[in-house]
Symmetry: C2
Subunit: 448 residues, 2 copies
């Protein structure tokens, strides 16, 4: 809202003093959004108007391509200051996007401590805890008292990402226990840390997938989660704001993969060529699949010319079982995604889907049968019975596959959303048409 006003009134960067005061009054994310939507050559001008501390905060909220752009425009000293002050996880994300030469120069300008932190994070694979963690956390020794711990926290750099938890380690940096700032505040200063800290620490390894990180933090209502290496030494923490981004990303992927977008991470405003690349393979793949189905149907052309009502019934059959497949898939994949069900609930879920599927199948079969009865000429009324039967079988098949396939993929440690809706609908079409046409042609041979 604020951004909107600014956008309208200052698009010309007419009055620099006014803009400076406005920009410095904005929340970092809003100032970042304002700068991002400026024309390229004006971004550096606007960015230079920010006070030093504000500039560092705003920079973290800029998209990587704008950050890269600014790095080319700003003085090296200013760039060095900003990059030094970034949190190590944000910095790693930026370095991922920059050309290798620029990264090398920037790494060189960092303090040894920050260089080490960045190198550590960049050493872990994308999508793991090691990659999303920050190395700025509060670490305490076991022997301290609560009062000493609070003093130590006060003396720490104010930049630590969260001071709301402190992690207690032994002499080998092994994570021993955790204590919240809340507990420290509520405890008398001369109590020993080890007497308040909890040794039931929920932690992850550096290689833990980010979805598992998000699941744990959500389950245990944590605002920070410690990350340890293979020797159980504390190497970083993951904060709640990163987890929210991870959860949103995962949900977007689930939705898009189900709908047949490869990789499932298309942005709404991606360029058209990216969109085509993410969507066309699935569509063409489906047509290829259909060739198999259609070649199987092709011999039935004479049947169709004998009973043309089939051409009306078949699309309804395909449409309905496809819809059921999408419904079942969306509920199963999402249930797996939020951890509501796991592969060990397969039989439970299958039982429910078959029961619900039976009700649905009978209702849809009845509806299609009735419609076929109306549309068929009098001597072909028997077609409606076959249509109803095939509808029932196909809907039950949709319910069964929609449950079993995602569950099976999860059991194989694959992504359940790989079974996209399009793949399911094509398969169901093929099976449904073949069954239907075979039955009709058999009936024609027997009764015709």
């Amino acid at each position: 809202m604020l951004t909107q006003d600014i956008r309208n009134s200052f698009i010309d960067i007419a009055d620099l003093n006014q803009l400076k005061s406005d920009l410095n009054d904005l929340q970092p994310v809003d100032a970042g959004e304002y700068i991002t939507q400026l024309p390229k050559q004006k971004r550096a001008i606007a960015f230079r108007l920010l006070n030093k501390h504000h500039a560092i905060d705003v920079f973290e909220y800029l998209p990587p391509e704008v950050q890269e752009d600014l790095i080319n425009y700003l003085h090296d000293i200013q760039v060095a200051q900003i990059v030094e002050a970034m949190s190590p996880d944000e910095r790693a994300e930026l370095f991922d996007e920059l050309p290798a030469g620029v990264v090398k120069r920037l790494l060189h300008s960092l303090s040894p401590e920050q260089r080490h932190a960045t190198a550590t994070i960049l050493g872990y694979a994308e999508g793991t805890a090691g990659r999303v963690m920050t190395t700025e956390y509060v670490r305490l020794r076991e022997g301290l008292t609560v009062g000493e711990a609070l003093c130590k926290i006060r003396r720490q750099d104010e930049d630590k990402e969260t001071i709301y938890y402190a992690y207690v380690t032994d002499d080998n940096r092994t994570l021993v226990s955790v204590v919240s700032l809340r507990q420290l505040i509520f405890t008398f200063p001369d109590v020993l840390i080890k007497d308040v800290a909890s040794d039931r620490v929920i932690k992850v390894k550096t290689e833990t997938p980010q979805e598992e990180v998000a699941r744990l933090m959500k389950r245990y209502d944590l605002i920070a989660l410690p990350v340890v290496d293979r020797e159980e030494r504390l190497v970083g923490i993951i904060t709640i704001d990163d987890v929210i981004d991870i959860l949103e990303e995962e949900a977007t992927e689930d939705i898009q993969k189900l709908a047949g977008v490869s990789g499932g991470d298309e942005q709404a405003l991606s360029p058209p060529q990216v969109t085509i690349r993410k969507r066309l393979p699935w569509l063409l793949g489906n047509i290829a699949l259909y060739i198999g189905a259609a070649s199987a149907i092709s011999p039935f052309q004479t049947v169709i010319s004998q009973v043309p009502v089939l051409a009306i019934i078949m699309p309804i059959l395909a449409n309905s079982s496809g819809n059921v497949a999408f419904q079942v898939l969306s509920v199963t994949v999402r249930g797996l995604g939020v951890g509501e069900v796991t592969p060990k609930d397969t039989m439970l879920l299958l039982r429910k889907e078959i029961l619900a599927g039976l009700g649905t199948a009978v209702a849809l079969g009845f509806a299609l049968g009735a419609l076929s009865l109306i549309w068929s000429p009098p001597h072909e009324r028997w077609v409606s019975v076959v249509a109803a039967m095939v509808m029932i079988v196909n809907v039950l098949l949709a319910a069964t596959l929609g449950t079993l396939l995602p569950m099976g993929l999860t059991r194989l440690n694959l992504d359940p959303a790989l079974i996209s809706g399009p793949l399911m609908t094509t398969t169901l079409d093929a099976v449904g048409f073949l069954t239907f046409l075979s039955m009709i042609s058999a009936a024609l041979r027997i009764f015709g």
Copy 2:
């Protein structure tokens, strides 16, 4: 994992002492899960083994139906203690589920302060900030020093949901500014609160929708957000753990609504009758829609018996444009859901989707044309040209509607996910078949 072990070894509640120590060692959410999966009559036994403080925490993690069950089994005094200690927002959620008589009795047993808090929350509509907020927050007066504020925070009930932010109010309880515990810790004790607190407070009204709450907290990386009434008086705060639940819920709704599950909040393990109720209306509605389409196709039965290859081409046409519709819808609806695009980006998005759609349409049209060429008998090869053309038009229509419909609904303040995939595919089928068959029958009249 822990829960799994416990589940296997203690399912008989054989050794109560061992179970007691194990249950009290578990995280509240894990203990809650263990109790939930016990047979009804054993839940109260297991719950009574929990230490008093732990029992209160565990109770908040139980599903409402298990809470209700326990309330009937436990002694009134124990129930009163637990309900009194629940956070007001969790308590409101429980009261929503309980029979009115039980709620009345429980409200009566509460302290006046907690009764008031609960009544306040229950007074707001579901899905608003007022309903998800808690009334347990730290409030400071403007005149305090940092030292006094820290003392006051220490003297507060340890149960405040978050002490990481304190809210500064004037004599009318009007929200004036906010200060983080972090700032208090890093500031000298004799500094005045008003000199450290920030008066750029991000806040919401009690009637703000929960999605907007989630959007703001995500955007500004907040771990708590203050809620004010119409007179700008502070009435509660919303904490980050509630926001994560809201975001997940919204994503689940988006996915399921797109796939045609009414209301979009079906649980994977809902009973079959709930499932049927949520899914069947859409499916039957679609068949009803199809009646219109099919009645329009019905007169073309003679065309189909003349050119039976149409019965093979039509399902591919329907399948492909339906798939494109699902892809476009999923990207648009999700983009709107996470705030990546807004209705004012409609033209931008449409331009991209039409450009991408053109590429996709030509590729799919070419593929279908080529296939039709193979399947058609020599004298009907011209059908493949019509098939390719209709495919191109239908895919472009899918891209256009998939963008414009969700955008239009959002502009009308309706839920963009109301345009479910099934509705779109049925519409596209109808338009596609009609166009296709009309063109074929016109061609037959002209050339045939």
